[in-house]
Assembly symmetry: C2
């Protein structure tokens, strides 16, 4: 892929691979990456492992992908998708993309677009009729470059 390899500001070669989240990724900066998106709190190794098992028990219906910088093993970007099964649209399925974030150290390398495309391809392969996501209006242009269009608003209630 055109963006599979690039150099950092010191000229060191960086190579990225995209794959599913693994249970060992807590050691590779996964939670620190999520903390660039929102509050993560302090998740213990046991809590992480438990949640990892809960999520992976859904198989292909809940996928978390990461982009790993291969020389350091560091997690540079992530995103997730959860597939909802409906009755409407001929018992159709919808992919809900969530929690897309690129480490500030690795921005400007189109890693976010790779994450969204990976998740979108997964949903297409799973037979979804659409993918959706919510974002701040300042992210609209980025997601348009990923092939999505604005359709409606998000409402939320915090407990």
């Amino acid at each position: 892929m055109a963006d599979a390899s690039s150099s950092d500001i010191t000229g060191e070669k960086q190579t990225f691979k995209i794959r599913k989240l693994e249970i060992t990724d807590k050691r590779n900066g996964y939670m620190e990456l999520l903390s660039q998106l929102t509050v993560t709190g302090s998740v213990t190794d046991d809590e992480f492992d438990q949640r990892f098992k809960e999520i992976t028990s859904y198989g292909d219906d809940h996928l978390i992908c990461v982009i790993e910088e291969e020389s350091s093993g560091k997690i540079a970007a992530t995103g997730s998708v959860m597939i909802e099964k409906k009755f409407l649209r001929n018992c159709g399925k919808v992919g809900h993309i969530e929690d897309v974030v690129v480490d500030r150290e690795f921005r400007g390398k189109r890693l976010g677009k790779r994450v969204v495309e990976f998740l979108t391809d997964h949903c297409r392969g799973m037979g979804c009729y659409k993918v959706i996501l919510d974002c701040g209006v300042e992210k609209k242009e980025f997601y348009e470059k990923c092939g999505l269009v604005n359709k409606g608003i998000q409402m939320s209630k915090y407990f």
Copy 2:
């Protein structure tokens, strides 16, 4: 509840109860109700049963509720919620509300609000830190009355 009973335009007394979707609800107008929201296509009884079993296999993590008009047994309103398990927010959970619709015959009786409150209460009980949903901007005021606030936009891609 204040809105548990009302009268239709002919003066006939109507009583409503809210409950989980049951596999026999295809006979009670459930798909016709969904068709007031969007395209449903032609779902066979076998396809319905199969999808019902897939959804209910998630237990409390994917709940579809209906409001039944008790004298006729007709499904008057519905909505669903799917609970997403995250790592962020101390391994938090988020409820995704989907497919809220009230039969046009039964509108103006606050059934939509009851559906949203039922789904929201379920999420609170399940330990979610928030519920979210997407809607057209014309529905904003309705969801504000249900206690939600606008936060961001929805992006989508149809396959």
